[in-house]
């Protein structure tokens, strides 16, 4: 602050010049960066604070470009206007918003993989409808406290409850049965359940309900090529498509490429059914994108077909290093191609033989449940998980029997305990397979119920318009959070393995020797993932040159690349030109909560002090396609700006803290995935002291940026790169190499303050598009003009005003289908055009058309929303929301390659990792992947344990649990739960101070000794902040870190895939997830004398 004031005084009062000097002088920059997080906060006035923040933005825009600024604010549903106000500011200036759901590792990447959908789950009231409920890695009483009573009560209705959890978790109290696999081995348990279900319900006997369901609603009947591996074995390849077999000749070539094929028993020929991706975008597909099989009778298996051959397929197994299994599958040869069905491959993968087919080892087709040597048998899983084989057989039978009896009313509530692993996608796919095989998905009372961080913005379309400022400018920059932090916090520099380390033994080897950073960079260059900062140059400078040249953006960029004049920022993330410079965090606690590899954030992003001791990758394990700079930068970010109503690690480390209003001091909207309502927040009091609402702060900042932009930025042209996006035609690119899309966008930086406060023209002119459906809210825009008034001058003249939080809430509700039946109906009508008129979607449209929710309705009481094209489920007063009921009841396809729910993924990168089918992958062996163990400083006793960070009672991350009453009901500070034997082995008694350390950092906490903890595993409940009762570490002499001090960010390369049907990017929808469950730590008892 002193430096800034001094510079401003010397520079004639020019705040932008002052900021430029402050950040341009390495000594000054280092001085304030190294002071981050060490106290010394100075109180200043609002005018000065906003001016300084705006100066930083204007300087960065001019010097480095809009993509060097970023905003981070998660969970928009829980105060949509507060989120959207800031996101809108960022979108208007061209700054990326960073995704959070994938970054948090809450996004179950299996959902886009299997369903082609982000996450769509039943409201908690639908638990009541379930006849069999598994709580799998989800501690409902603790993390879904207000809804837990549904579960408790449904048991009285005879619902059976099975809890799968490694500890005796709170939910276990309600269970009929407690299965406790070793942490991270849940996938093996699910694979064994799948083995039993496939054997008993598909081979030994056929359950008509199941068979009919999987033929209609899953990819099981689709044909997959069997690629030659060597002379006598094969591996599963790509889906066989219409282009391969010269089918669907009436369709265009680029569509036929995306038309997978099944084998029709009626004609005894391969056929293209309705509803594949090839029907979704082209004109020819209109009326055909549906799940009506017509006269087709899909064959589930090639087995028993007179022309069937037997092929030997090699499949990976990951429970033994480098091992594979050989399985005989029935196959058919069509036009010279050998192919089989996904179902036949599933049986092979799950180790379920069939009479007459023969097994590889001998001729006996039947593998015994007691055969522990064959993957996926109950006995095999017992060796992996410790759960008795008999218990698994019993659970699988009960599950399947209940599903058969109730037509799919079995539900799995799956949670972060199984989702935050590196291989969570394979774990989840093995769970989802159980539900798909038994016809439980798209049924009330059945299906998956994933409740991890996903707070659903029910009025989605309107919020999205507000947040992305799509009413004024398109496209916005939406960045995938995980690769952003991976590159910009330099965690990639500490990663000492290449892609081969995790590839399957069956991998063709296309990625051999490549570092994950290389794969990130490839993904960006191929247009799969976004990357901001995009280029090694200011996109405003590029935009100016492009604008002056008048060329087509894509060919201009291609030419510049070819000439070697244009590099991608991700190819050299440590170049000062490619650093992120301004980061604004609001409604979030990045540094205290979600920052995996926390100490690397402190070191490289902020330039503050840290506790990490990890060594960087040696030369032979470094990236090949990403520049390695010998000295890693410390302190990339010029400004960390935080808005909050309480002190957190983020505000402590921020350069500028703006005091924000709480929920009870502002108007806003809220909705969740657990309830079908939209609620208003209403101020009980005005923001006290000097606090302001997020809405007001960002509007103030926008005005200030506009003021300082005059003469400095004015009207600029911005070259925006965007990836191939899901639910757009980009998800089905034509054959050949792919790349990002480039758009030249004009930005009038002086008009930012006017535009943020009014509804721009594009929502009406170009429509509002959600999940591929476009509606035109023209009547609503007129209504908003009348309701909110219109701007009387300036660039927004005549446009409806959004200058108060109430008006923004009103716009969100008016522009969304869930709260505005007219729009919902319009969307369903558009869908009916694409899906066909006999799907009943037209009738559905009529049934919702009359609903309308205004803001005052939500203020009076929470209002139930209606069914809309924005979501996949139906709902009404008599009907609980359950996802995919529109798909099952109206034959609307899933947003996937086949249009069905996928067991099989056919991308080449997926094949590298051997994950085409559900498979068990154990937790990572981090030592094997180069994470060096830490030596105990004084040679004392220590124990090495699995380090889990589940969510705790009484908290939303750090929030609430630091409240005095909650701390009083807990242990008064950070604690780590440890089992009795582990504690005894290092001489730790209950409430002793301990230190947990590994190469990534140090945690200082007290021990809670408990026999409910399994041996070899400790819990440090999520986000116990360093700000309350955390002493200095004995090991480093510095303040102990947060729970994420012991984690490091690892990207699973298969999450980087894009431009391939449902495997295509969308913000918070699909992208690499963070993960932290695989971490291992050393625990030791420390001196009980602590220093603060």
């Amino acid at each position: 602050m002193e430096l800034y004031r001094d510079a401003k005084r010397r520079l004639g009062g020019d705040p932008v010049a002052a900021w430029a000097e402050l950040t341009g002088d390495p000594d000054q920059r280092r001085r304030y960066q190294s002071a981050r997080g060490k106290g010394g906060l100075v109180r200043i006035g609002w005018d000065e604070a906003l001016e300084m923040a705006a100066a930083a933005h204007v300087h960065t825009l001019k010097e480095h470009g809009p993509d060097r600024i970023a905003g981070f604010s998660p969970i928009p549903a829980m105060s949509m206007a507060s989120h959207a106000a800031g996101a809108r500011f960022h979108s208007l200036i061209g700054a990326p918003m960073l995704s959070f759901y994938d970054w948090y590792a809450d996004l179950p990447i299996a959902s886009p993989q299997v369903f082609g959908d982000q996450t769509d789950v039943p409201e908690s009231g639908d638990w009541w409808d379930a006849a069999y409920l598994m709580l799998w890695g989800s501690n409902v009483p603790v993390t879904r406290t207000p809804d837990a009573h549904w579960m408790a009560e449904a048991r009285y209705r005879g619902q059976k409850v099975v809890v799968v959890s490694p500890d005796y978790a709170d939910a276990t109290k309600f269970a009929d049965e407690w299965l406790h696999p070793h942490p991270g081995t849940d996938g093996a348990l699910a694979m064994a359940m799948g083995h039993v279900i496939l054997r008993e319900c598909f081979v030994d006997r056929q359950v008509p309900y199941f068979t009919d369901y999987v033929k209609r609603f899953t990819d099981l009947p689709f044909l997959v090529a069997l690629d030659e591996r060597d002379t006598d074995t094969r591996t599963p390849g790509a889906f066989v498509t219409a282009s391969d077999l010269d089918l669907a000749k009436e369709a265009k070539a680029e569509s036929r490429r995306w038309m997978p094929v099944l084998f029709d028993a009626a004609t005894d020929r391969p056929a293209v059914p309705n509803g594949t991706l090839g029907d979704r975008w082209g004109k020819a597909g209109e009326g055909r994108w549906n799940l009506d099989l017509g006269d087709l009778d899909p064959r589930l298996t090639c087995h028993g077909h007179p022309a069937a051959e037997t092929a030997v397929v090699v499949l990976p197994r990951f429970d033994e290093e480098g091992a594979t299994v050989r399985r005989r599958v029935p196959a058919l040869r069509v036009d010279g191609h050998l192919m089989t069905t996904v179902f036949d491959l599933m049986l092979a993968q799950y180790g379920v033989g069939r009479p007459g087919l023969g097994a590889e080892a001998g001729d006996d087709a039947t593998v015994s449940y007691d055969d522990a040597t064959t993957p996926c048998t109950p006995a095999w899983q017992e060796a992996v998980t410790s759960v008795p084989a008999q218990a698994v057989v019993r659970a699988a039978r009960e599950f399947a029997r209940t599903a058969e009896q109730t037509r799919g009313r079995c539900m799995i509530v799956m949670g972060a305990g199984t989702n935050h692993w590196f291989h969570s996608d394979t774990i989840y796919r093995s769970f989802l397979s159980l539900l798909l095989l038994t016809g439980c998905q798209g049924v009330n009372g059945g299906g998956w119920a994933h409740y991890v961080g996903q707070e659903k913005v029910r009025p989605y379309a309107g919020w999205q318009q507000m947040a992305t400022a799509s009413d004024w400018v398109r496209p916005s920059r939406q960045m995938a959070g995980t690769p952003y932090w991976y590159l910009n916090t330099d965690q990639w520099r500490y990663e000492k393995f290449t892609a081969d380390a995790l590839a399957a033994p069956t991998a063709p080897g296309a990625l051999a020797g490549l570092h994950t950073a290389d794969l990130v960079s490839r993904s960006v260059r191929q247009g799969w993932m976004p990357s901001y900062p995009t280029f090694g140059a200011n996109p405003l400078d590029l935009g100016r040159r492009l604008h002056e040249s008048g060329a087509d953006p894509t060919s201009w960029v291609g030419a510049e690349r070819d000439a070697g004049r244009l590099s991608y920022a991700c190819e050299d993330p440590d170049d000062p030109a490619n650093w992120p410079r301004v980061l604004t965090v609001w409604r979030a606690n990045l540094i205290g909560s979600s920052a995996k590899g926390n100490e690397f954030f402190l070191r490289h992003l902020l330039g503050a002090s840290d506790n990490a001791s990890a060594e960087e990758a040696p030369p032979d394990q470094r990236p090949r396609e990403v520049t390695w700079r010998d000295e890693a930068p410390r302190g990339k970010v010029d400004l960390l700006l935080a808005l909050d109503f309480r002190m957190t690690s983020t505000t402590l480390f921020a350069d500028l803290v703006l005091p924000a209003a709480t929920w009870y001091e502002k108007h806003d909207l809220s909705s969740t995935d657990m309830h079908p309502y939209v609620h208003a927040f209403s101020p009980a009091i005005s923001p006290p002291w000097q606090a302001r609402t997020d809405f007001e702060i960002f509007h103030g900042l926008a005005v200030e940026v506009g003021r300082l932009a005059k003469g400095r930025l004015d009207v600029a042209h911005d070259l925006v790169a965007t990836p191939l996006q899901h639910d757009t035609p980009g998800e089905a690119p034509p054959d050949g190499p792919t790349g990002p899309r480039f758009t030249l966008v004009e930005r009038d930086y002086t008009a930012i303050g006017d535009k943020i406060a009014a509804l721009g023209p594009l929502s009406g002119e170009e429509g509002v598009t959600v999940k591929g459906v476009t509606v035109r809210p023209l009547p609503e825009i007129s209504w908003l003009g009348a309701r909110c008034g219109t701007a009387t001058r300036g660039p927004a003249r005549g446009r409806p005003l959004l200058d108060t939080d109430v008006k923004m809430c009103e716009a969100i509700l008016a522009l969304s289908g869930t709260t505005n039946g007219r729009l919902a109906a319009e969307g369903f009508e558009r869908l009916a055009e694409r899906c066909g008129t006999d799907t009943g979607l037209g009738e559905l449209a009529a049934s919702v058309a009359e609903r309308r929710v205004t803001f005052s309705d939500t203020q009076a009481r929470p209002v139930q929303v209606g069914a809309s094209f924005e979501w996949s489920g139906k709902e009404g007063p008599e009907r609980r929301y359950s996802p995919f009921t529109i798909n099952t009841e109206h034959f609307k396809p899933w947003h996937t390659l086949t249009g069905r729910q996928h067991f099989y993924l056919d991308h080449p990168w997926i094949a590298e990792y051997g994950e085409q089918l559900p498979v068990y992958r154990p937790p990572l062996n981090l030592t094997g992947l180069g994470e060096q163990p830490t030596a105990d400083p004084d040679g004392g006793r220590s124990v090495t344990v699995r380090y889990l960070t589940p969510h705790s009672k009484w908290s939303i991350h750090s929030e609430y649990q630091e409240n005095l009453l909650m701390q009083t009901l807990a242990r008064g500070g950070p604690v780590i739960w440890i089992g009795v034997d582990d504690a005894a082995s290092i001489g730790v008694a209950d409430n002793d101070w301990i230190e947990a350390h590994n190469a990534n950092g140090v945690v200082v906490a007290r021990a809670v000794v408990s026999h409910r903890m399994p041996p070899g595993t400790v819990f440090m409940y999520h986000v116990q902040e360093r700000m309350v009762n955390v002493p200095k570490s004995e090991a480093t002499g510095r303040r102990g870190g947060v729970h994420n001090a012991l984690t490091k960010l690892l990207i699973k390369p298969t999450h980087l895939i894009g431009g391939h049907a449902q495997l295509s990017f969308a913000p918070n929808y699909y992208g690499p997830t963070g993960n932290q469950r695989d971490a291992v730590t050393v625990i030791r008892r420390r001196s009980q004398e602590v220093q603060y």
Binding site: G158, K160, A175, Q405, A989, D990, M1013
Partner: protein, 539 residues
């Protein structure tokens, strides 16, 4: 037959999720004041565990409740003479260590720390003496089995059990026990108070401390075996759960019930025969006390009872409410609710449905079909939570009533599963637990479906008064300075120094002057204290 009415509570432990919302909302309402930092009128204990204050159930140590001496009930802490002898040195009083030393944090450090060399942190500071402190004990130390087997072995209930309970991972069991004052029919706290400050209200049975009469002798703290009377070290008076009587009088549930997230609390009227209570409390065998107390309760559906109730002055709407009472239904009709520690002989009036879980697991582990009702009942004693543990809590060690209650819950699940899956019903299920299908479904309705208005059946209370009867200044006995009805927004987080001079506790007889209870005011006249005194007006 002398009919009296009490507002009573049942908590269904099978539904408690241990969220502690009840504790927090109660604390925010009643004990967020200096002097009561350590006080939780409502707390939730994880069992097995030592509870709060630690080991309070060990009556050998604390000598709370009653005992039988030669067939006569006497306070376990001794007769009047012994009590008076210990007025100034009472060894059976829990110390602050047994509760916990309340603390706060140096939160201000986070905003005001000068530039240093490390991240600021807010360290704990005692709320008693204001000094930096280490947190070594709290009101909920055992939460979710925290503390390890050595610590949990200090659970007095566990120690009473004859059989060996293994506190090991595979055998883990736990449940939550939310506790408030029992508002006993035979309250020992009332009996031992030398000042007569504790009293049980005639109209609804709520046990209160008259803040005007309390002299701070703390005999009630010792006398209560549940340790639900607390000493306010600021005012020097005893305080306890008030059953939120101002809300109850208005027909509203207590705050703990109102905010119960798990929907496990039930409130309703119990009619009982006051003439039977003394004899019942003096029942010889401890195991018979449960039945003896049940026998005190009257059937509100019985016309004779209704007539006698109205003759005793119980308002008609109370008798009606007693018929709709969910508490009566769970205790007397369905017999799934049980009293907490009947062996204390205080005739507690907050009862509990024991937790049922998980039983099927142990059954199926032996290869049986866990859904088969007959086998289910036979296996109830192989419940993960040992029945013996529950019996020590609820029936002085007699497993039979606990097993009966659990079998009824299990039967309800079996019966309803068949309904739910559309299977043929089996009347034998209900018969096996002495019920029929209609009764089972009525109980199911109450436990699974009952909404707010069916869980909380609380008639409003008012007493028709004759104008001029002179009780207009009755006031509220709780709102003396620093007392339970008062709130000082800044007091709670501030570490205490020594009390400032001029803040001496008020003493009996002065605090209620100049107050008027508007609830009971008939609108006539100008009661003293309604308007500010004018200059010179006589006090």
């Amino acid at each position: 037959m002398r009919v009296m009415a009490q507002v009573a509570m049942v908590m269904n432990l099978d539904k408690c999720i241990g969220c502690h919302t009840c504790s927090v909302t109660c604390k925010q309402t009643w004990t967020n004041r200096a002097g009561t930092e350590y006080v939780w009128f409502n707390n939730v204990e994880t069992r097995p565990g030592q509870g709060y204050p630690r080991g309070y159930e060990d009556q050998e140590k604390w000598r709370g409740g009653w005992q039988l001496k030669r067939g006569r009930l006497v306070p376990r802490g001794g007769g009047r003479a012994r009590r008076l002898a210990r007025l100034f040195a009472n060894p059976e009083l829990p110390s602050l260590d047994d509760y916990y030393e309340p603390w706060t944090y140096d939160y201000e450090t986070l905003t005001t720390a000068p530039l240093g060399d490390d991240v600021p942190t807010a360290r704990p500071r005692s709320l008693i003496d204001g000094e930096p402190t280490a947190v070594t004990w709290g009101p909920n130390w055992d939460d979710d089995l925290g503390g390890g087997p050595e610590h949990l072995a200090g659970d007095p209930v566990l120690q009473k059990m004859n059989e060996q309970v293994r506190l090991e991972y595979e055998q883990s069991f736990m449940f939550y026990l939310p506790r408030i004052c029992e508002h006993c029919l035979n309250p020992s706290c009332v009996a031992v108070c030398p000042s007569g400050a504790l009293y049980k209200r005639i109209e609804d049975g709520i046990v209160l401390v008259d803040q005007d009469r309390c002299r701070g002798w703390r005999m009630c703290v010792s006398g209560c075996p549940y340790k639900k009377v607390y000493f306010n070290h600021r005012t020097g008076k005893a305080e306890k759960c008030t059953f939120c009587y101002p809300r109850i009088e208005a027909g509203e549930p207590t705050v703990c019930s109102e905010t119960c997230v798990g929907r496990l609390r039930y409130l309703g009227i119990i009619l009982y025969d006051a003439d039977k209570v003394g004899e019942a409390a003096a029942t010889e065998r401890e195991q018979d006390l449960y039945q003896a107390q049940l026998d005190c309760f009257l059937d509100p559906g019985d016309p004779a009872v209704a007539r006698a109730a109205e003759a005793s002055g119980i308002p008609h709407d109370w008798v009606t409410a007693a018929r709709r009472s969910p508490v009566h239904a769970l205790i007397s009709r369905h017999k799934v609710a049980l009293p907490l520690h009947p062996e204390y002989r205080t005739m507690p009036m907050v009862w509990y449905v024991p937790p049922l879980s998980p039983v099927v697991e142990s059954l199926t582990a032996t290869g049986h079909d866990g859904e088969d009702p007959a086998k289910l009942f036979a296996a109830i004693d192989s419940l993960r939570i040992p029945v013996g543990y529950l019996a020590e809590l609820f029936t002085a060690g007699d497993p039979a009533p606990v097993e009966a209650a659990l079998c009824r819950l299990a039967a309800m699940r079996s019966h309803m599963r068949r309904v739910n899956l559309g299977e043929e019903q089996d009347p034998a299920i209900a018969r096996a637990v002495g019920m029929d299908a209609d009764e089972i479904e009525a109980m199911y309705r109450l436990l699974a479906l009952a909404k707010y208005d069916e869980r909380y059946v609380v008639p409003t209370s008012y007493t028709a008064r004759t104008p001029g009867s002179g009780d207009l200044d009755a006031g509220c006995s709780l709102d003396g300075q620093g007392g339970p009805g008062m709130y000082d927004p800044d007091a709670f987080h501030i570490p205490l120094g020594p009390p400032k001079s001029g803040q001496e506790p008020e003493h009996a007889g002065t605090s209620l002057r100049d107050r008027v209870n508007l609830l009971n005011w008939n609108g006539r006249g100008r009661p003293e204290g309604l308007f500010p005194r004018t200059e010179g007006e006589a006090r």
